[in-house]
């Protein structure tokens, strides 16, 4: 029945095109809005295509990346973006590195050694359950803890908080990976007199590098996008990029061209990274329940 197969193919393509449009349009709209003049924001019908429907300008980009421009009527200096992007980068990189280091050691231990009093599986599932806690239940204790420690509005406070959320994920994903890795090479190296740590460094690390990188990217994206902790734990010096974006919400009429430019800056790194680890995405997002 070649005819009905063809019809299905056509249907599939139509569905794909509609879905593609639905996925891309909001992103397209945001990116193009960042090149609009204030006067082109509220025209009707909405101007969709630069050069055709409106004359693009770099004003918004110039004003967020320096110059005397202001990010909003609230009066953020243009140079804010450098600081928040730097903060976000430091926080995301440090918390991923911390979580990867602590987490993969734990994952290795759980996958290679046998624990007696509590079974390995129980420990692993206990660690995973840490991942499920709603952030809002943790954020108030965090706020008070860091207040006592005088660490509010510092980068380490946010790093510590984000690591707590990445860590269970790292352990869970890396444990699965180590379990799939054959033990024999490590065992023979141990028999030859290598210590556990040199086995880790010389044999396990090179083999695990791609998975470690993928898991690290997940941690990075999570931290980069996170808002609630940053909102509670920082207010000025340690502000992150999502906070700068979100901060535009309550200050008068939104300056859409600027918000779009900052929003574009925010979504570029996670999207690029996601493309890099495309192969692992479903595995990561479903905590290994679906092998993508």
């Amino acid at each position: 029945m070649p005819k009905s197969v063809k019809l299905l193919d056509v249907l599939a393509w139509i569905v794909l095109l509609v879905a593609t449009f639905a996925v891309l349009f909001p992103i397209w709209w945001t990116v193009t809005t960042s090149f609009k003049n204030p006067r082109d924001i509220s025209t009707w019908p909405p101007p969709y295509v630069p050069f055709l429907n409106f004359e693009p300008t770099l004003d918004a980009w110039k004003s967020i990346f320096g110059g005397p421009g202001q990010l909003s009527s609230g009066g953020h200096a243009g140079s804010m973006i450098y600081r928040v992007v730097t903060n976000s980068l430091i926080i995301a990189v440090s918390s991923s590195a911390l979580a990867i280091t602590i987490g993969s050691f734990a994952a290795y231990s759980l996958s290679r050694f046998e624990f007696k009093r509590w079974k390995n599986n129980d420990i692993a599932f206990w660690i995973l359950s840490n991942r499920m806690f709603p952030p809002v239940a943790m954020v108030i204790p965090f706020f008070l803890m860091f207040k006592v420690l005088n660490m509010l509005d510092t980068l380490p406070a946010v790093i510590i908080a984000h690591t707590a959320f990445s860590l269970p994920f790292v352990v869970w994903m890396m444990r699965e990976f180590f379990l799939e890795l054959p033990k024999e090479i490590e065992e023979s190296a141990m028999i030859d007199g290598c210590s556990v740590f040199s086995v880790l460094r010389r044999i396990v690390l090179p083999l695990a590098a791609p998975s470690l990188a993928a898991v690290a990217v997940f941690c990075f994206i999570f931290s980069w996008n996170e808002l609630l902790f940053a909102l509670f734990l920082t207010y000025n010096q340690a502000q992150t990029l999502p906070m700068l974006v979100a901060g535009e919400t309550h200050t008068g009429a939104p300056l859409w061209w600027l918000i779009s430019a900052v929003g574009t800056v925010a979504i570029i790194p996670p999207i690029l990274f996601a493309v890099l680890v495309q192969k692992y995405i479903i595995r990561g997002l479903t905590l290994g329940a679906v092998k993508g």
Partner: protein, 288 residues
């Protein structure tokens, strides 16, 4: 050289200690806080009120509204995402050129910074100049005030979540479909089963672990929604789109009533943990 017997504890120790200190301790502390009267606006002193906060909670109409909003949001968002995602996965589960490209494309919504997504949709759903109303006007549907009217604001949040997370359902279910064994299909086709019968008696049962896992995980996450609401409706108009997280954040940060906010957050924790336990138990069974 380190004694091999202790190595496993040295490797695992830091992680366990970290999670106890930064995961479990705050949780217990939060339970303690929920029994306290803490009003930072009134001063630093606190006092023990026992279950007082929870009694106040049970009589707080706004809390029940936010709880209802949250449940309605989770059910409708996850439901729609499942239906659309499954439909797409079934249609596209075939040899096609450029499938890789589309997979990459579908990653974009779920990876985008949620606050940025919130703003995207504040523009798109703008009632005066937003493209959504323009598209609708092309087919003759009059202007809709998406985010600004109490009857539609929660639905608009659902819509945004559907944009963001349908790709998750689609990609998980597609991965699940493509990992299914071929034999049962060949057998049922030889037995003369119709397309619908194959779907109902072969695909659905085989795929059900993936369906359940993806839906549970999505629900757990949906319960925690905050960022998008924070920048789009901020829970409004009134409390029409306020969820539990949003409410706890407002009490905590705007009114600085940390004890009461902890009590609110704790109820969410219980709800989420219940769903999480179902998920974790299923994963445990799978591993055996």
């Amino acid at each position: 050289m380190l004694n091999q017997r202790y190595v496993k504890f040295i490797l695992l120790g830091p992680c366990i200690l970290y999670l106890l200190a930064i995961g479990i301790f705050p949780l217990i502390y939060s339970l303690y806080l929920s029994t306290q009267w803490i009003e930072l606006t009134a001063g630093p002193e606190t006092r023990f009120v026992g279950l007082g906060n929870f009694i106040k909670l049970s009589q707080d109409g706004r809390f029940w509204d936010t709880l209802r909003n949250t449940v309605v949001f989770v059910l409708s968002a996850v439901g729609l995402e499942f239906i659309i995602g499954f439909g797409l996965a079934l249609i596209l589960n075939r040899e096609m050129k450029g499938q890789r490209l589309f997979r990459v494309l579908f990653l974009m919504p779920m990876m985008s910074t949620p606050v940025a997504v919130g703003y995207m949709f504040r523009m798109i759903l703008n009632s005066e100049w937003g493209p959504m109303n323009h598209f609708l006007s092309l087919v003759g549907i009059p202007r809709v005030d998406w985010l600004g009217n109490p009857a539609g604001s929660l639905f608009s949040i659902v819509l945004i979540d559907v944009w963001e997370w349908t790709p998750f359902m689609f990609l998980s279910l597609l991965a699940g479909l493509q990992a299914l064994p071929v034999d049962p299909y060949e057998a049922s086709i030889i037995d003369g089963a119709s397309r619908w019968q194959v779907f109902k008696y072969v695909t659905l049962p085989l795929l059900s672990p993936v369906i359940v896992a993806a839906s549970l995980l999505r629900s757990i996450d949906a319960f925690k929604i905050f960022d998008v609401i924070y920048v789009t409706t901020a829970g409004g108009p009134g409390t029409s789109s306020e969820t539990v997280t949003m409410y706890a954040q407002t009490i905590g940060m705007r009114y600085l009533s940390l004890g009461y906010a902890s009590a609110v957050a704790f109820t969410l924790l219980v709800a989420v943990l219940l769903v999480s336990m179902i998920f974790i138990n299923r994963m445990r069974k799978q591993q055996r």
